[in-house]
């Protein structure tokens, strides 16, 4: 089948959306943006393809929306099994890469010992891998780098101690290898991995799984043809796409928000390194926009610095701020001052909750300024970007929008992080349509 792919190469993550000819989303994929844009794009696209496969499975299983429990269980098991398959493949790549690094003068004496230790580390990692993908397992991240990294460090310490190999040596080998592994585009055929995963699932569970497995296998026969791809992304001087395959990020966000909420007239996007206020018309065409200038104040990056300063995870900031009873009054959103401001206030005895609540408000205040410069807030406002996932930021936005513009419907889609990629995929669909019809797209 024909598919249209939109890729949003962001500063933090790369997102892909795959769409079919009927403007239906087939799949979404996300990965961490690396220094290697090509790989980030191909990983995100592959992730979207995997997700698309699951959509096709669902379609194959019949009546969309009316899926029974068994089907859901089967799909969940299949996904876990597939992820395990992927993990094991990358783990094998990592092992090979690590072992390859054990050479040269440095390893003249200890080489064999290090290799043996590495093999032991990876044996243990493989052994515990299925548990990581067990039904109740709680994974902190879905990115290989994060999962493999934290486990490697723990296991290598153990093994190193047992074998009398310095932990630093093992750590150093890992550090050098993970970048190479991460920057290698995904290898192997997707369908092979799906077939292996299907086999594992049906081995575990006979019953309904066999019938569903057969249907799934049939769905795997549908070829996903990447008919047209459009890429977007801010700050990429060179995108791995040719010119006619690039659309501006602002336009993609405007169109993506319009597709999610056709009555959107204003879009606020707070991403990793920029904040955008966009006005769109009834057709999703951008009428006006404003964004932060050279300074990253008040963008997602600012929250990143705060999280680092507080030694917390980025996703923990919002919930903590929500606990505040008396938000601190903070005016500066200067990222450079963030650390100083924070320490100063902590020293004055203000609570972390109150300070965080104040910082969230400060970010949204800056967004309000950008929004007003772009032409204000018109009903409906759609809030997108990574920061839209942060409840404390959303709460402040609602408050400030109400204070300044009155009753306005604020839309936040759980998949808002894909807004730009969604718009890009629709641009891809239209461009391909124009090409097919001979219309100037």
């Amino acid at each position: 089948m024909k598919t249209f792919v939109g890729i949003d190469l962001g500063s933090t993550t790369t997102k892909a959306v795959m769409m079919d000819e009927n403007e239906q989303i087939l799949g979404r994929g996300i990965t961490n943006s690396r220094s290697n844009y090509e790989t980030a794009c191909s990983v995100a696209t592959e992730e979207a393809k995997i997700d698309a496969r699951f959509t096709l499975f669902r379609r194959e299983f019949g009546a969309a929306g009316e899926l029974d429990e068994q089907v859901e269980e089967f799909l969940a098991a299949l996904e876990r099994s597939f992820r395990l398959e992927q993990f094991l493949e990358q783990l094998a790549d990592l092992e090979e890469t690590c072992v390859r690094l054990v050479r040269g003068e440095r390893f003249e004496k200890i080489g064999d010992g290090v290799k043996a230790a590495l093999h032991e580390v990876f044996r243990r990692l493989r052994e515990e891998a299925p548990a990581l993908y067990a039904p109740d397992a709680d994974r902190k991240s879905d990115f290989f780098r994060d999962i493999a990294g934290s486990r490697y460090l723990a296991v290598a310490e153990e093994v190193g101690r047992e074998a009398g190999i310095s932990y630093d040596v093992l750590l150093n080998i890992y550090d050098k290898s993970i970048i190479a592994v991460e920057n290698r585009p995904p290898s192997g055929k997707l369908n092979e991995k799906f077939k292996n995963a299907l086999q594992r699932v049906s081995k575990e569970d006979s019953g309904a799984a066999t019938v569903l497995g057969e249907k799934a296998e049939h769905a795997l026969g549908i070829e996903l043809e990447e008919t047209y791809t459009v890429g977007t992304g801010y700050g990429r001087v060179t995108l791995p796409f040719s010119k006619e395959h690039i659309r501006s990020e602002i336009l993609c966000h405007g169109l993506g928000a319009h597709m999610m909420y056709p009555n959107t007239r204003t879009v606020l996007d707070i991403g990793g390194q920029d904040t955008k206020g966009i006005q769109v018309n009834a057709d999703g065409i951008v009428e006006n926009f404003q964004m932060n200038d050279r300074c990253a104040a008040g963008t997602g990056r600012y929250l990143g610095y705060i999280a680092d300063e507080m030694n917390m995870g980025l996703h923990e900031l919002g919930p903590m701020a929500m606990k505040s009873k008396k938000p601190a009054r903070i005016n500066s959103t200067c990222t450079v001052f963030a650390g100083a401001e924070l320490r100063d206030r902590l020293a004055l005895g203000e609570s972390r909750e109150d300070i965080l609540a104040g910082l969230h408000r400060a970010i949204i205040l800056r967004s309000m300024s950008i929004l007003s410069r772009s032409g204000g807030v018109a009903d409906q406002l759609t809030f997108t970007g990574g920061v839209a996932k942060n409840n404390a930021a959303v709460r402040e936005l609602k408050k400030l929008v109400f204070e300044n513009y009155g009753e306005v419907q604020i839309n936040i889609d759980p998949d808002s992080i894909y807004t730009g990629a969604l718009g890009a995929s629709e641009f891809a669909r239209r461009a391909a349509h124009g090409r097919i019809e001979g219309v100037d797209a």
């Binding site: 700050g235 926009f289 200038d293 050279r294």
Partner: protein, 435 residues
């Protein structure tokens, strides 16, 4: 003597013959300036808006323009270190970067673009035309050079028109302050017929300049009225207005532009002749000089030509009909100062930009807002909205700086520009569908 800091342009940069001629003129002028201590010529420092070059020439003074020096430092990638030098000396980050580049250059030996030391001015001719920072700038220079300083006050065009009172007020200043001081500094007696002679020459070059700038009305436009325009205004905004050199230059340029016009060609960019003209823009605000070529490239690579700009009017609004007039010498100098773009009110600027979009059949307005220039930037968003409303054409806003390299974020500017071009495209296609 300090080693030369003049760096040749990379060989692959293409230039019009007129650009080469202009460069030679500038080089000759800088040589004249830097050899003033040897030749005994006296130097007057002054500003581009309200530049009284004809009058200065009447006293055999050489015209030195600190703004142009700052621009030269920006183009030659020297301004960054000068600005930091000035900041170390206590000038804040928010201060006009022309000023800081100039002050920093002074602190580092005042080496001009030809690698030689620029002379100390014998007189500071502060013609104030709307930019308040000029006052502060020359206050600093006066402190440094301890030379006579003339303050010529141009009334701001708050009501949008020149009144007889304004002209009288300025002529009075010419007669009572400016001319006597220049006589005293130079030792040359003022001769009004000499002034008339220069003014006559000015008007002649001005006719050609207007003709050239208005060729932007053609499709495709044979000129880029912003990036190319910077070169075109060089001689007449600088030390050549009223000279035969300027007449020759504009005649030469006019022929060059006419030739392109005849062949239906677009402007010449540093990467060669411009391809298809896809977007016609009107630009408001000064350019960025530290990444001048990179900035320009973002336009011509996308097929965007600037057909008219306000910046090419900071040294005179000749396209609105004003000419230096030998029959009314002092009065016309007064009118000249009153009319420059920096002295125009917000409503006048809105009118001008709206006219340009309509008359040059532009696709929209682009504002390059300068971080360190409050004089230009204040009110620009309001200008933008009003022009959008009046013309129905889309507008956009990018933010850079004059000569501070720290305030040019290529990725940010490119993102905004590309969004804008695609926005224009969508609007123009009128299909009601984004593509």
């Amino acid at each position: 003597m300090k080693p030369s800091i003049v760096k040749a342009q990379p060989a692959d940069v293409l230039k019009d013959a007129s650009m080469i001629k202009q460069k030679q003129m500038m080089a000759a002028h800088y040589d004249r300036l830097t050899s003033a201590p040897q030749t005994g010529e006296k130097v007057a420092s002054t500003f581009v808006p309200g530049n009284l070059n004809e009058l200065i020439m009447c006293f055999d003074l050489v015209n030195n323009l600190p703004e142009v020096n700052a621009i030269q430092s920006g183009l030659r990638k020297q301004s960054g270190q000068y600005i930091m030098e000035a900041e170390r000396a206590g000038h804040s980050e928010d201060v006009c970067t022309y000023v800081k580049s100039d002050i920093g250059m002074m602190m580092k030996g005042n080496i001009g673009p030809n690698g030689k030391e620029l002379p100390k001015p014998d007189v500071l001719l502060l013609s104030y035309t709307g930019c308040f920072t000029f006052l502060k700038w020359f206050e600093l220079l006066r402190e440094q050079y301890k030379c006579p300083t003339i303050f010529l006050q141009t009334p701001y065009m708050a009501d949008g028109k020149v009144t007889p009172n304004m002209i009288q007020y300025m002529v009075k200043q010419f007669k009572e302050t400016v001319i006597p001081t220049l006589e005293e500094v130079s030792g040359v007696k003022f001769d009004i017929d000499r002034l008339r002679e220069y003014l006559k020459k000015s008007a002649q070059a001005e006719d050609d300049l207007v003709y050239i700038l208005q060729t932007g009305k053609n499709k495709p436009s044979p000129i880029d009225a912003y990036f190319g325009g910077i070169y075109y205004i060089g001689p007449i905004f600088g030390a050549f207005r009223g000279t035969d050199d300027a007449i020759d230059y504009y005649k030469f340029l006019r022929e060059e532009v006419d030739e392109r016009l005849l062949k239906g060609l677009g402007p010449v960019t540093p990467d060669g002749p411009m391809g298809e003209e896809k977007y016609r823009l009107v630009v408001e605000g000064p350019p960025n000089y530290t990444s001048f070529r990179q900035f320009w490239k973002m336009f011509y690579e996308e097929g965007a030509t600037v057909v008219a700009s306000s910046y090419t009017k900071v040294g005179g609004t000749y396209d609105y009909g004003f000419r230096h007039d030998p029959d009314r010498p002092l009065e016309s100098l007064a009118e000249y100062c009153l009319g420059v773009y920096t002295n125009r009110s917000l409503p006048m600027r809105i009118d001008m930009l709206t006219d340009y979009i309509n008359e040059y059949e532009a696709d929209g307005l682009l504002i390059n807002s300068i971080k360190s220039c409050n004089s230009f930037s204040a009110g620009q968003l309001l200008i933008m909205r009003e022009v959008e409303k009046r013309t129905g054409k889309p507008a956009a806003f990018v933010e850079t700086d004059l000569v501070d390299p720290r305030y040019f974020s290529a990725a940010n500017v490119k993102n905004r520009l590309e969004s804008y071009f695609q926005m224009v495209e969508q609007k123009r296609s009128g299909k009601g569908v984004a593509a």
